[in-house]
């Protein structure tokens, strides 16, 4: 079935915080056709490569053996009734025996607002501890703290429309082109229409620099020094908006701190600093977009305030086309912030440590007890788990055993915890494998609720597929545990709409207490109205709906004034030195998402960069005797990893970069956060994920391998990385010691004890190639060499299930072209296909490549790579 005739439903993409609307049409076989929603204000029909591939991540076939079908208690299939009783009993016992603070929830920005609300109500209002934190702590906490310090609440002043109307957009610590591609396309569209200038502030050259007028390659962690310098120059240039500053407090102290600033810490030249300041000061309509490069820092909150200070001083906030704009990493990080997902917050942006707020919520919930102090933030929480202080832990839709700093220690702490419940869609995550009770949760496209994106737009996620057999919605699971713990009334929900109404009603109380988050206009929403709810931006009250904040002040401090925060540059906590000479930056890739639990299901998304790698500068590579495709071992004080080498001047000498997506499931030697120490921002508690220090050495591999197969191989090698392909799987491998018998090794790897085998060997060069087949069809093939295996990978990846003959050659038959690694994921166009078209058809620019091959014409996030390819080929021709 092609789904024609089946109804199309509006919903929201489950990936980043842009919150794009999607149109979902079931294909009738458990799968989905996914299109961008042309009417959604976040994306107006556009989707990025990840969103476009959502259809490839759902359905019975792709999820067979991956999704959980039943609860597991101690690894054994159990009824929901028994499993939930175990969870309720364990939390009750811990609470009674060791007190409420022996219980903790670690949840995630992947939860819907309604799920999130119930989790908070249960633990803060009824179990009676504030020990709930979320992976938003690793993502947003510094912005939350910065917003609260400046505005009094965690308020995003502006909207996405500001990007359309700005004349200057500064991207600070944000690779928008890859991490929020649809917003980046919006920026490029503005550039087309009104010549919007783009400045990128990032220690690393990223795809976002492709369209930039200026790239400030500042020293890691020196953002405060840059924006202090800007603030001082704003003042020196007489660009302070005195009228607006009257709505604020503390400019003088902030300026004093800024004047003490040593701008040299940025590593930028005076000319660069002056040029940046001139652009920024000289452009009224400036939006400063910031993201993880700012947040994931031990001075993250100060970085945020150093940016907001400049906007407050110039009054550039709350009006069209200008203002500070934080872009969030997760689909519902904002919703989590609204319901008080963080350990120091209450629902509706109320403060846990504010007695009035506390009692308001307590009485609204009719809660037996409320904690009076903030709970443990993520890093402290898992330290407490490791110290045995947490007796019962519930982890929901996140993978801390991979994504937390000091990840190996966190993994061991979870493994050692008395009781760990994990809610997830699959048991195949580093964290789920450690669970005492594993609960199969309904996944995206199976559940109903709301999410809030980076510009305060609340959108519905709607269920268009039945829950995968045995799965249940998170609000339902949490409420059931609440009832089983004895709070039938408080958790007597039948439908998420009831939870939404309760949340809206509470926000009305918060609004009356002077909070920003007020959607009381929705508290009477009927079930049908909830189901039909169109995207809308909060607040939603009788008097105000959506719009911007702070044009005329009206801040949420007692004084109703904004506060300048005097900030001083602090270097990252970890210091480079002889033992750890390199500054270690981490980040995201265009086609992967977090720990890959969804994107790794898509062959298209997995083919762009199909193994973990380390970017290192050519000079450093030369000093270390590294060549492209060598493997490197990197060590930090907390952990180590083995990665593929990518030599590029995108990173500066002395700095290295690695993506953070790979896990024990996909590449166990590449659990990047194991190398990141648990150093946190004293204000926000957010870890410093992008400024660890490492030593880099050549990994002395005795052999390298490349494998393709129908079924996922089970590797034991020192290095391996698994990726999905259309035909099955591909795997890179390497080891320090060579097995005696490659055929035996391969049979174990592929679990093919008896399959027919064809083999090629060049023993004196350590080359072994084995193809396993049945009835002439290829089941699996392994290619081994002493150097990085040189074969046509992207052709071989298409061979499983096809004729086995000739596969050991490792390259295409003379008449078959090799597509090369995928550049355009949306239309699955390989780099060699593009290069050939450019040369043979004489294509001159990205547009003509798009016209010829469609590459780059959907989400556009591969256009920088296509442009780079065009450039390199031109250089090549010139050289000839």
């Amino acid at each position: 079935m092609d789904g024609s005739g089946l109804p199309t439903t509006r919903s929201t993409c489950p990936y980043c915080g842009v919150g794009c609307g999607v149109l979902l049409t079931p294909d009738g076989n458990g799968g989905l056709l996914v299109k961008g929603d042309p009417d959604h204000p976040a994306n107006y029909g556009k989707l990025c490569s990840k969103g476009s591939a959502l259809g490839e991540t759902v359905g019975e076939e792709i999820n067979r053996g991956y999704r959980l079908r039943t609860p597991l208690v101690d690894g054994k299939a159990t009824s929901w009734d028994d499993a939930l009783q175990v969870v309720a009993d364990k939390f009750r016992a811990a609470r009674e025996e060791y007190g409420p603070d022996s219980c903790a929830f670690y949840v995630s920005g992947q939860l819907l607002t309604e799920d999130y609300y119930v989790a908070n109500k249960l633990i803060k209002g009824f179990i009676g501890t504030a020990n709930i934190d979320t992976n938003s702590r690793l993502c947003m906490a510094s912005t939350v703290a910065g917003h609260k310090r400046a505005f009094g609440t965690d308020t995003v002043p502006g909207t996405y429309e500001d990007l359309d109307e700005a004349d200057l957009i500064v991207l600070v610590g944000s690779n928008l082109a890859w991490c929020h591609p649809v917003l980046f396309q919006r920026v490029l569209a503005a550039r087309e229409q009104r010549g919007t200038r783009i400045i990128v502030v990032d220690p690393r050259r990223t795809a976002s620099c492709d369209a930039a007028d200026m790239h400030l390659k500042l020293a890691p962690g020196s953002d405060v020094a840059l924006f202090n310098d800007l603030l001082a120059r704003i003042d020196a240039a007489g660009a302070v908006d005195a009228a607006y500053v009257a709505q604020t407090e503390g400019l003088a102290r902030a300026l004093a701190a800024a004047r003490e600033n040593d701008a040299a810490e940025t590593g930028l030249t005076d000319a660069e600093l002056a040029a940046f300041a001139a652009e920024w000061i000289g452009t009224e309509k400036v939006v400063t977009v910031f993201s993880q490069g700012v947040n994931q820092s031990t001075s993250g909150a100060d970085k945020v305030n150093s940016i907001i200070n400049c906007h407050l001083a110039t009054g550039r906030i709350g009006r069209p086309g200008l203002g500070p704009l934080s872009v969030t990493g997760q689909p519902n990080a904002m919703g989590g912030r609204e319901v008080g997902g963080l350990a120091n917050m209450l629902a509706c942006h109320l403060d846990l440590e504010n007695a009035a707020h506390r009692s308001a919520v307590k009485s609204f919930w009719d809660a037996p007890e409320m904690p009076e102090a903030a709970g443990l933030k993520a890093v402290d929480m898992f330290r407490a788990v490791g110290e045995g202080k947490i007796k019962a832990l519930w982890i929901i839709h996140t993978n801390p055993a991979v994504s937390m700093p000091d990840a190996d220690a966190v993994r061991d702490a979870i493994a050692g915890c008395d009781f760990v419940a994990v809610s997830d869609v699959t048991g195949r995550t580093d964290t789920a494998r450690l669970a005492d009770v594993l609960l199969p949760a309904a996944a995206w496209a199976e559940k109903d609720g709301t999410v809030t994106n980076s510009d305060r737009t609340i959108s519905r996620q709607r269920a268009v597929l039945p829950p995968f057999s045995g799965a249940r919605a998170d609000w339902d699971i949490l409420a059931e545990v609440g009832r089983r713990m004895g709070w039938e009334e408080a958790f007597n929900y039948q439908h998420p709409a009831e939870i939404f109404r309760e949340h809206a009603a509470l926000s009305g109380i918060a609004g009356k207490m002077g909070r920003d988050f007020d959607i009381s206009g929705l508290e009477e929403l009927s079930r049908d109205e909830y189901d039909a709810l169109k995207p809308l931006r909060w607040p939603v009250t009788a008097t105000k709906q959506g719009g911007r904040f702070f044009e005329k002040g009206g801040f949420f401090h007692a004084s109703s004034k904004a506060k300048f925060v005097p900030v001083r540059w602090r270097p990252p906590v970890a210091k480079t030195g002889p033992r750890y000479p390199f500054r270690f930056n981490t980040g995201r890739l265009r086609d992967q998402w977090h720990t890959m639990t969804r994107t790794a299901l898509s062959a298209r998304l997995s083919s762009h960069l199909a193994e973990p790698f380390l970017d290192i500068h050519p000079d450093d590579a030369q000093d270390l005797g590294l060549e492209a495709a060598d493997l490197v071992r990197i060590k930090s004080p907390t952990g180590e990893a083995i990665l593929r080498t990518r030599i590029t001047s995108d990173v500066s000498p002395g700095q290295v970069f690695a993506p953070m997506h790979w896990t024990g499931e996909t590449a166990p030697s590449a659990r990047i956060d194991a190398l990141v120490a648990g150093e946190v921002d004293p204000v926000s508690g957010q870890p410093e994920s992008k400024a660890a220090v490492v030593a880099v050495t050549n990994f002395d591999a005795a052999w390298y391998g490349f494998a393709v197969s129908l079924e996922a191989p089970k590797a034991k090698a020192d290095y391996w990385a698994l990726a999905k392909t259309e035909a099955g799987y591909r795997m890179e491998l390497a080891g320090a010691t060579e097995p005696a018998d490659w055929e035996a090794e391969a049979r174990r790897l592929f679990d093919l004890p008896a399959a027919e085998v064809t083999s090629f060997s060049d023993t004196s060069r350590g080359i072994a190639r084995l193809a396993f087949h049945s009835g002439g069809r290829l089941l699996a093939a392994l290619f081994v060499a002493r150097e990085p295996v040189a074969v046509m990978r992207d052709y071989l990846a298409t061979r499983p299930g096809e004729a086995a003959s000739g596969v050991l050659l490792g390259r295409t038959p003379a008449d078959v072209p090799d597509p090369g690694p995928t550049v355009c994921s949306c239309f699955n166009v390989g780099v060699k296909t593009i290069a050939t078209a450019i040369e043979e058809q004489g294509l001159a620019d990205v547009e003509s490549v798009g016209a010829a091959l469609r590459a780059g014409t959907n989400c556009g996030s591969c256009r920088p790579e296509i442009r780079a390819l065009l450039a390199s080929l031109r250089v090549g021709q010139a050289a000839q």
Binding site: E611, D762, T763, S764, A790, R793, R811, P821, K832
Partner: protein, 404 residues
């Protein structure tokens, strides 16, 4: 006009006469067999009914007549008078200015008791072939010798419905051309044709009164048979040369111009020994014929022995062997094994050059390998694809899974 006498009308002599066409010689050709030159290599296909004798004759009476060559077929040369430069034969002497001895070789017959019984034959000429062809379906034959010739004989008879047993002294078949593994595949496919193969089998005595009846092995096994074919090798026919007191070791000694110890007398083909080497395969004999023709015309060409290649002419046993494939210090193997397809390929390299090839089941690239062995060119650049055939050079490969 110079008088040239050629003794022997084997394939080498036939080729020599072709090269001498238009040369200013008065040629007389002697042949012990009562016929001119035919393609002896094609006897196996004849035996296997894939062709007929008439089609493998390369030089018939008309051919000789058309070129004014005097033929004395079926007439054995008795002796050579080097003083008088005269060749003596039954029907009278012939004087020569230049003499070519191309007496070929005779099969080696193991002197087992009973080896002279009727029904004990070699596999050499048309008469032998005809005896094999005369066997009735269902009758039994034993072939001693699991070499090229013996296996072709065995396969040919088996194709005619004869129950054939091959008795081979060595550990595996065709040990001079094949390694153990390829020989194993060959034996399996011969057995699939109903041929019984006994390796490391020591023949002891041939049994029978008036006609061969069985072969008994040292281990006591008796192999009943109506025909026993000995195919254990050949030895140069040098009787007439020895009688003429020419220098003879294992064969008639010739220099690089194919000249014997008597400047007027030349050697050609399986009867000669050149630089200590004897010749059984046709390729070098054709080389010799070409060189000798040039020398006789007054040229200065020299004969350089080259690597040899072998193909087994047994339907369904695709086999190619060339050069040197013994294991050895500094020798490196490229190996392809595909048991389910009955394919085995082994290339042997030394100092970056290809020096040997053994192909079984898939031999289309054999001639390419043979050329590489002959040319001795460096194949390092081809090494990754050499075993898969020509035409794969210069492809763009990736060394990891990261987009370029």
């Amino acid at each position: 006009m110079e008088r040239l006498v050629v003794i022997g009308a084997g394939m080498a002599a036939g080729r020599l006469l072709e090269h001498l066409e238009g040369a200013d010689f008065d040629i007389t050709l002697f042949n012990a067999e009562p016929r001119g030159t035919y393609n002896r290599l094609m006897l196996s296909p004849v035996l296997a009914r894939e062709t007929t004798y008439d089609e493998i004759v390369t030089h018939d009476d008309d051919w000789y007549a058309a070129r004014g060559i005097t033929t004395r077929l079926g007439e054995r040369v008795e002796r050579i008078d080097r003083e008088a430069c005269v060749v003596h034969a039954a029907k009278g002497p012939v004087a020569y200015d230049k003499l070519v001895i191309a007496t070929g070789s005779e099969p080696f017959m193991i002197p087992l008791p009973g080896h002279d019984l009727p029904g004990v034959i070699a596999y050499r000429d048309l008469e032998d072939t005809e005896q094999m062809m005369d066997l009735a379906p269902g009758s039994r034959a034993v072939v001693i010798g699991g070499g090229l010739l013996g296996l072709e004989a065995a396969a040919g008879m088996a194709a005619r419905g004869v129950h054939v047993t091959v008795v081979h002294l060595m550990g595996h078949l065709m040990e001079r051309q094949l390694d153990l593994e390829a020989a194993g595949l060959l034996q399996a496919s011969l057995e699939a044709k109903g041929i019984e193969v006994l390796c490391e089998a020591h023949s002891e005595v041939i049994l029978g009164d008036s006609q061969v009846e069985a072969l008994r092995l040292k281990d006591g096994r008796e192999l009943p048979c109506d025909l026993l074919v000995m195919a254990v090798g050949i030895r140069p026919s040098v009787a007439v040369a020895q009688a003429a007191e020419l220098e003879v070791a294992r064969g008639l000694m010739v220099d690089d111009h194919m000249r014997s110890s008597d400047p007027a007398i030349f050697g050609l083909g399986e009867c000669v020994e050149h630089r200590g080497q004897l010749f059984g395969l046709v390729a070098p004999l054709y080389e010799q014929a070409a060189v000798l023709a040039d020398v006789l015309r007054g040229g200065t060409q020299t004969f350089e022995p080259k690597p040899l290649s072998t193909k087994l002419k047994v339907t369904g046993c695709d086999l190619f062997s060339a050069g040197d494939f013994a294991e050895g210090e500094g020798r490196q193997n490229l190996l392809l094994r595909d048991p389910s397809a009955q394919v085995y390929k082994r290339l042997i390299l030394e100092d970056g050059r290809l020096i040997g090839a053994v192909l079984y089941g898939e031999t289309t690239d054999g001639s390419w390998y043979f050329d590489l062995i002959e040319s001795g060119e460096d194949v390092t650049a081809l090494r990754d694809t050499l075993l898969f055939g020509p035409g794969y050079e210069g492809a763009e490969l990736s060394r990891c899974s990261l987009a370029a």
